[in-house]
């Protein structure tokens, strides 16, 4: 009786599921995405039925892929038979060209990264509704379960499941192809991929509430995927590097997060010794690479702001004039009221709290921030600094009525208590 010495790498199944779906979909064609997904689930269940007894095989990845491959071929034979029967009874079955089984059996396979990127481009295909791309990428490429995606999105499981079904139907209807887009399509398709990864990261990063564990995983998956995009010769670009830099610099602060991130003022209260210096260094290197192009994207500007914070030894010694300048450009580019609010806070570091309050009053489309707790929270901080504690208290109380999560409430309550 041999000892069970082999244990599994963390998230091996999740990672492996994404790679196997990618590899099988490339071999079978995107029409058979469902076959690939089902075959992979079959393989994971087979492991669940066998490994508890036999122990983990010497090469778990190879074991899983072998089973998934066989199940895919089995399932295709069934599809083929079903298609044959339909045409036999004269219902005009769609033309069916089964992929050569040999493409599945070849030993020399292209690098895994190519498959993953191919599946990522498929998930972010224009045929898929924009709000479904992130969920689809997490499911297919990331190997996340429907329940995990729902927890990260704070959505009902049934809603996510429906969104995924619709997305896959759109892919089939749109005849979307697996793989890299043609050179002519690459630029817009790459923009769509980067935008989806940005949303994926924010889904994890903006941990206003919910399951922080799965949210960190989602943010980590976004970093992994944008790293692939930024490193691959076909997709490497200044925008991809800028997005990678942005994510790494933001993620460097994860260990110091106390929840309810999103308000610039929270940075003031973070223990900077907990920031992940390795992530900062990697982020700054990526930002260097991002400077190669002549197009400045929102990712460049946001990464630039994040870099200012990352290299500042303290809140007070931060290069605020530079941050204001970056926010000016970012506001001009995006017109976002949230960006305008953070710009106002940055201005208050340079010109004082009353200047900041005046800028907040003049934010264009300020009504878009109605109900946003971080607006009165920012005003409260600025009133406090200006010495008007009554106004500050009123604003903290307003923010408390709007707070979206327990950490946000705790932070605001503590600030209010500190005031009186």
């Amino acid at each position: 009786m041999a000892a069970d010495s082999i244990t599994l790498v963390e998230h091996l199944f999740r990672r492996q599921a994404g790679q196997m779906v990618a590899r099988l979909t490339r071999a079978l064609g995107s029409r058979h995405l469902a076959v690939a997904e089902d075959a992979v689930q079959d393989a994971l269940i087979a492991a669940l039925q066998q490994w508890p007894y036999r122990g983990v095989p010497d090469q778990p990845e190879a074991w899983l892929y072998q089973v998934a491959k066989n199940r895919a071929l089995d399932r295709l034979r069934h599809v083929k038979m079903a298609a044959g029967k339909v045409s036999a009874i004269g219902q005009g079955a769609p033309a069916f060209n089964p992929p050569a089984a040999s493409t599945l059996l070849r030993d020399e396979l292209p690098p895994v990264d190519d498959d993953q990127l191919g599946l990522l481009f498929l998930s972010c295909h224009p045929a898929v509704a924009a709000d479904a791309r992130v969920a689809l990428a997490l499911k297919l490429v990331g190997g996340f379960g429907v329940g995990e995606i729902a927890r990260a999105f704070l959505a009902q499981e049934s809603a996510i499941a429906q969104r995924l079904v619709r997305a896959k139907r759109s892919l089939r209807a749109g005849g979307a192809d697996f793989g890299m887009p043609s050179p002519a399509d690459l630029a817009p398709r790459l923009d769509s991929v980067l935008e989806s990864l940005y949303l994926m990261f924010n889904e994890g990063y903006a941990a206003t509430t919910g399951d922080t564990l799965v949210r960190d995983d989602v943010a980590g998956e976004a970093i992994r995927l944008v790293s692939l995009v930024a490193a691959h010769p076909a997709t490497a670009s200044p925008a991809a590097s800028a997005l990678l830099a942005l994510m790494l610099l933001q993620a460097s602060r994860f260990p110091a997060r106390s929840g309810g991130d999103g308000l610039l003022f929270l940075l003031r209260d973070q223990d900077r010794s907990k920031w992940d210096r390795a992530a900062v260094a990697a982020g700054l290197r990526a930002l260097d690479r991002a400077a190669a192009g002549d197009r400045v994207t929102a990712y460049h500007l946001e990464a630039g702001i994040a870099a200012c914070h990352a290299v500042a030894p303290s809140w007070a010694s931060t290069d605020w004039p530079r941050i204001v300048a970056l926010y000016d450009d970012l506001l001009a580019l995006t017109g976002s009221p949230v960006v305008a609010l953070n710009r106002a806070i940055a201005i208050s570091r340079v010109d004082g709290p009353l200047a900041g309050l005046a800028v907040i009053e003049s934010i264009k489309y300020r009504e878009a921030l109605d109900g946003y707790p971080l607006l009165p929270a920012a005003q409260a901080e600025l009133w406090r600094e200006s010495g008007d504690l009554a106004q500050a208290a009123a604003c903290y109380r307003e923010a408390l009525t709007l707070a979206r999560s327990a950490p946000e409430q705790r932070w605001l309550s503590a600030r209010l208590a500190h005031l009186v």
Binding site: T7, L8, L44, A47, Y53
Partner: protein, 115 residues
Amino acid sequence: MPRFIMLLHDSGTFPPDLSPDQIQAIIERYVAWKQKVQANGRAVDGHKLADGTGRVLRGAVGHPKVIDGPYAEAREVIGGLFIVEAAHFEEVVELSRDCPHLDFGTIEIREVEPT
């Protein structure tokens, strides 16, 4: 050392929507349990029984009745078994108390008569 067989009964099915992460977590619980038992100096060997019903033969030698079974209609079947070496029966019962299989089915322990 006395040998025992742990027969692991279960329904043979899992929730259809287990995520890869959840599947791995379940496997890891079994691996951890076996490692813990082995770390205590008790060897464990496992065997998975193939899925699907078996056959039961009953009747006269030469022409028995052969039916699917034995538990085709039962809620739980034996999915697999562990063979454990331990000092005595009670020790195996103790070892089994935190066996993750209890979350999925039942455990039946039998001692193998020494030869």
